[in-house]
Amino acid sequence: MSLVELHAIHKSFGELEVLKGIDLAIDEGQVIALIGKSGSGKSTLLRTINGLEQIDSGVIMVGGNKISERDTDLLALRLQVGMVFQQFNLFPHYTALENVMLSPQVVKKQSKVEAKEIAEEMLAKVGLADKMMHYPDQLSGGQQQRVAIARALAMKPKVLLCDEVTSALDPELVNEVLAVVRKLAEEGMTLVMVTHEMRFAREVCDKLVFMHQGRIHETGDPEEVFSNPKTSELASFVGGLA
């Protein structure tokens, strides 16, 4: 049984069908790279996995349980699936430490002491032990994104979704964030990441999913897929990046 299973997911925005029947299984410990042209539906797909977009039809299963649109199901889903956004979305009125502590306290009802301990551990993991008392506007983009990762990790999700987590960063700050993601992957975290960092995808991911016009167009081992794309769309996508 896979950790997360998507069956025949359809999603439209008005007339525009963005997801045209997506089937995807995410196994425990797997690191999946989601690639494809802008507008191919990558973000929408990630957002459906986290329940941020309601699907029109299809089934989402997490840990073998079907997720309905009931609020309790949605909460259960989000407790298992964390998300990191392109724009960080830190809470600007809280310090780095408070950003990370908040949800464990409020959602999981952990004690302040417990939440603080976990938050400190997570911030140390992303290399920000010395920035805990800083507010987001006192941190660089790369540091903010690492706080966002720590914040998601503090909820101990089974899967972490990353939507272009380095795209909003200045080039010199990309690596510090990728290094954190790489470390998570090595520790066995289950990851689904939308990325344009092809070299990183090739080195770190176990599975590559290429989306094209709302469908999963090609999928396979990254090394294999990159060196020997089976479809002309992927070939031209990969070629266009080189």
Partner: protein, 217 residues
């Protein structure tokens, strides 16, 4: 006719001024409370309730405060509820205040980016938690200047209660004028007292703004 010294005038105005302050505070506190509840309903997004709140806001924004007060004061007795000028004034101003504050605050809440809602949702927070920990604390800072600005409107709005016979600052001014025949002096003092209530509010707003740093956008 008895002689009124300036001190007599000021003293009597000060006594009445307490009622202006009390009416303002009560209307603002109750109006703020009702406004907050309406804001939550409006933001939670049930279409029927949203329409209801919107209608409420438009009703009170689209009619003069004086008419609202008349309707409360003369309307409630028609359904068997006899209300004193104090109750009518409090009720009228509370309704008025809640409608305006809801609308002011809605604008502030809507200025909080979608990313804040999504990030907090992805962390498992429900609507109430999102409001309490993420959206309202940020919206509050943005809301301070217009809210305090509006509180000044409430203070000045209490003058309308004089017409239904509630003895606050303006009504007292009229009564004292009738006794002293010194309208310029009396109303000058009345105006000064309104100013002395309202001006510190503006200063307070500036002080509060400085306290909430670290809110982006």
């Amino acid at each position: 006719m008895s002689e009124f010294t300036l001190w007599d005038i000021v003293y009597n105005l000060l006594l009445a001024g307490r009622w202006t302050v009390l009416l303002s505070l009560t209307a603002f506190a109750l109006g703020g409370l009702v406004g907050l509840i309406l804001l939550m309903i409006r933001t939670a997004g049930n279409p029927w309730l949203v329409r209801l709140v919107r209608g409420y806001v438009e009703l009170f924004q689209g009619t003069p405060l004086l008419m609202q007060l008349f309707i409360v004061f003369f309307g409630l007795p028609l359904i068997g509820l006899d209300v004193s000028p104090w109750v009518a004034a409090t009720l009228g101003l509370t309704l008025f205040t809640s409608a305006f504050l809801t609308e002011i605050w809605r604008g502030c809440v809507e200025s909080i980016g979608r990313g804040q809602w999504e990030a907090s949702a992805s962390l498992g927070m429900n609507f109430t938690q999102q409001m309490r920990y993420i959206v309202l604390p940020q919206a509050m800072r943005i809301a301070i200047p217009p809210t305090v600005g509006f509180s000044v409107q409430v203070v000045k709005g209490t003058a309308v209660a004089s017409i239904i016979g509630f003895v606050e600052l303006t009504k007292a001014g009229t009564m004292i004028t009738n006794a002293t025949y010194a309208p310029f002096t009396v109303y000058g003092c009345v105006a000064l007292m309104y100013f002395l209530i309202c001006y510190p509010l503006s200063l307070f707003a500036r002080h509060l703004e400085g306290k909430f740093r670290h809110v982006a956008r």
